[in-house]
Amino acid sequence: MEIFIIFISASIVNNFVLTYFLGICPFLGVSNKIDSSFSLGLATTFVMVITAVASWLINHYILILFNVPFLEYVSFIIVIASMVQLVEMFVKKTSPVLYRALGIFLPLITTNCAILGLALFAVLRDYSFIQTIVFGIGAGVGFTLAIVVMAGIREELEMADIPYPLKGAGITLIVAGFLALAFMGFAGLISA
């Protein structure tokens, strides 16, 4: 039950992008085609889950064991950067098409706040190993959901007649605002 709540909370109620503002860069940058958004969502989810696992191990077997909590941020970011490198190499080998489609956004997953945010939140909330994994999957699903929905809207927007000052970033942010308001409708799903 607890596990289920964590999943729903991370993916929908407290959506990483729309309530915590994590992962805004790719959310605004990549979200103009549904397929590339979906691929990026999957890649991010994958990195999230392995980062969740790695950061949990580091936290419990290095930071707490040797009492060096001050190395938390440094060690987490190093882990994330290396994980992203691995995923990048993997995608390049297995799916050149996907690699080309994701382009520069693949290495940029390193500076996706959602990933570091996930690792930090998991530590902050004292999640167990299983809970951390579920939290990672939930956050990834939430990120994918937000970015794909956004891409769907933006594909339509391309044809719309938008006042010129709002073209691009302006209208994207405003649409994101309405999406965030819409997602608030899910709040209360998990209340006691």
Binding site: Y20, L22, G29, D35, I78, T111, G117, L166, A180, M184
Partner: protein, 239 residues
């Protein structure tokens, strides 16, 4: 001297990190529910920006090319940790209000972006003035956004009550949705004065600003691949 001032000035308006380059959006949106929080976040970010600029620029000839991103990340993360402990020890209420967004300065694209695109290629003095300018511009943007949201959402500015009891606060301004919408409108407002309308056919294909500026070019150089000068890779059809 004039050169240094030029580097400083560009971050304030022309290349403003928030309104023009759209960098570091997480903290911009997340902590700007009050002007005070915006100011604190801006100062913390500027501190990290300045310190990492000094170190990156000092060490630019020593750090080997292949491991420079890793080195920058470690340097940045170190200063973020210092800022985090400083806030927790000296200013606990601010530290509580900013919460996990202080550690998230590590992944603020603005800092890594400036380290890679500027400090790693320029001397200390120039890098410092660039960092100061970018930091000031970033802080200013956060205060503006936080101020607007605080006035409309709470009727106050820097926690001083401005509007009387007749004012019914617009709660939506304090919600995540309000953050997005305010920033979107603000960027539109700035574009209205700075950008001239373009011919229709061109504007349809136009992409959001930071495609050409800042982040993308930076990232391309950063990772030394995708040499084809950032044709909008992601918009390519991928049959």
């Amino acid at each position: 001297m004039t050169d240094l001032f030029k580097e400083f000035k560009k971050g304030l308006w022309k290349d403003n990190a928030v309104f023009v380059m759209l960098l570091g959006m997480c903290p911009v949106l997340a902590v700007t529910n009050s002007a005070t929080n915006g100011l604190a976040m801006g100062l913390a970010t500027s501190f990290v920006l300045l310190s990492s600029a000094i170190f990156v620029s000092t060490l630019r000839h020593i750090i080997p090319h292949q491991v420079r991103i890793a080195s920058y990340i470690v340097i940045i993360a170190t200063f973020v940790t210092i800022a985090d402990y400083f806030l927790a020890a000296m200013l606990p209420p601010i530290s509580k209000a900013l919460g996990p967004y202080v550690p998230l300065i590590v992944v603020n694209c603005l800092i890594l972006g400036r380290a890679e695109a500027f400090s790693s290629k320029h001397g200390i003095a120039t890098s410092i003035s660039d960092a100061l300018g970018m930091g000031t511009g970033f802080t200013g943007a956060l205060i503006i956004l936080g101020g607007i949201r605080e006035i409309l959402g709470n009727g106050s500015l820097f926690e001083v009550k401005l509007l009387g009891d007749w004012f019914e606060p617009w709660i939506v301004m304090l919600l995540p949705g309000g953050a997005f919408i305010t920033l979107g409108l603000l960027i539109g407002f700035i574009n209205y004065f700075t950008k001239k309308p373009v011919a229709l056919g061109v504007s349809l294909g136009e992409d959001i600003g930071y495609r050409e500026k800042g982040q993308f070019v930076t990232a391309n150089e950063a990772y030394g691949q995708h040499q084809e000068k950032s044709s909008p890779v992601v918009t390519e059809k991928t049959e």
